[in-house]
Amino acid sequence: MRVLEGKGVTKYFGGLAAVCDVDFNVNQGEIVGLIGPNGAGKTTLFDLTSAALTPKSGTIRFKGKNITGLKPYKICRMGVARTFQSVKIFANMPVLENVLLGSLFGMSTGMSSADAVKEAGELLEFVGLSAVKATPAKDLPLAHQKRLEVAGALATKPEILLLDELMAGLNPTEVVQSMELVKTIRDKGITVFMIEHVMKAIMSVCDRIMVLHHGVKIAEGTPQEIAASKEVVKVYLGEEVRAGS
């Protein structure tokens, strides 16, 4: 079943086509990677999906329902959660409250405060932050802040989680831990759509990869297919030049 589906999604910034006529889909239970050079339009595509931006044209559907142009809080409550490239946490709020917010507001059906606190605690356990419950979020190291943001997004009980460069800025050990985290999230039944620059991670975690370049989708396939694709290699490394010519 298709959880997320975009058709002809287009967004201009001034005269620049940040995302141009992109079709994409994410199936239930998949981990789909979104890669491409800087400025390819990856984050813009996420922004359009989560309604941080509205597309110029095209439609985005979540489980068959058109969600284009809805408000961000509605999309979140329907079951689409996201994290941000530059971590957006509630810096002066304690770690627990960061997560609690999602439990209290992120679902269309209300939840009692006691249940929400319990659930936020469980999620902190899940991402391994239960020891720092009461610490203000800004005092955590980057890797923990990223995990906290994931926990906060998970608190809204999403069916699909959009992760924008979860591993950027992390050291190799932390990257491995993050990869494990992504896999366990999928094992919980949550579909994952992720932007990533760390190739090792994306190649080993994703079921399917999409490549954007200059706002256009240039390739899609399994990690092996993408690694072998001439066009992708060209985009990342530049064209092959024959000696002597």
Binding site: C76, R82, F84, K88, A91, M93, E97, G102, G106
Partner: protein
Amino acid sequence: MNIAPVTSKRLFPLGLLFLVLILLSTLPIYGPKYAVILLTDILLYVILALSWAIFSGPTGYISLASAAFFGAGMYTSAFLGKALPLFVVVGIGGLISSCLAFMAGTLTLRLRGMYFIMFTFGLSQLIKHLILWWEAHVSGTIGRFVIIIDVITVYYVILVLFVMALLIAYLIRRSRLGLALQSIGENEDAAAHRGVNVTVVKVITFALSAFFIGAAGAIMATRWTYIDPSISFNPLYSFMPVLMAIFGGLGQLYGPIIGGVIFAYLEEVLITRFAYYYMLFFGIILVIVILYLPNGFVGLIQKWRKRPLEGQHAST
């Protein structure tokens, strides 16, 4: 072991508050009239600071619309004071301010930072001049008289409004609405993406906070007996709540209360003793506080409280 200090910590401010409230509510019986009037002024400032802080404290949206709400309450009193009983007038004054805040909020809470500040200040001025224009061209007289209510009744109404504002502020801080407001102040985009309907949260809280400012205006108008647009929409009522709340400290509920009390008392003392230098002294004190106490008086108190605790940790 852990529970005992927590409960005593909670009980102490509660008991103190209770004691203060009992003293305040019995004041007219034993206190001189001057004390009643002075405390009315102090409580008015506290209400203004507290109501302002309900919305602007956690969200960081600096509203300069307080004068608009305060003045709207005053004019309600001038129009309806003779026709309706006092409590109804005060209630309507509050509701009109709430409606005003609701409309202004729906229009402008998309604005952030500087733009919101400027708009709210513009709103106060716009309403002032609108009423001035209306009085000059339609009703024919500028300014109007308000029915006179005795000092003690005014005092009790203000006291009730203070208790209500305090209660609402406390409940909001404790509730999920408070958490939502704080998350908006920390990172509005992230809050929206966590399912918080930021517009509704902001507009409702803005309207709620305006209620107390409007109601306070409605009752205070009766003490001043004569009002005109320059008196009721005095920009000072926009700036004072901000200054008092920041002066006291926004981190805790009692910050704006302390700020309001100190400001009102300081104003009283400075005006009576140094009438000519009043604003000068006031300015100097304010500059010193902003420079050296960035978290207000509350920040200072918390620093003092923490110090012995840190000493304990070091010794063990």
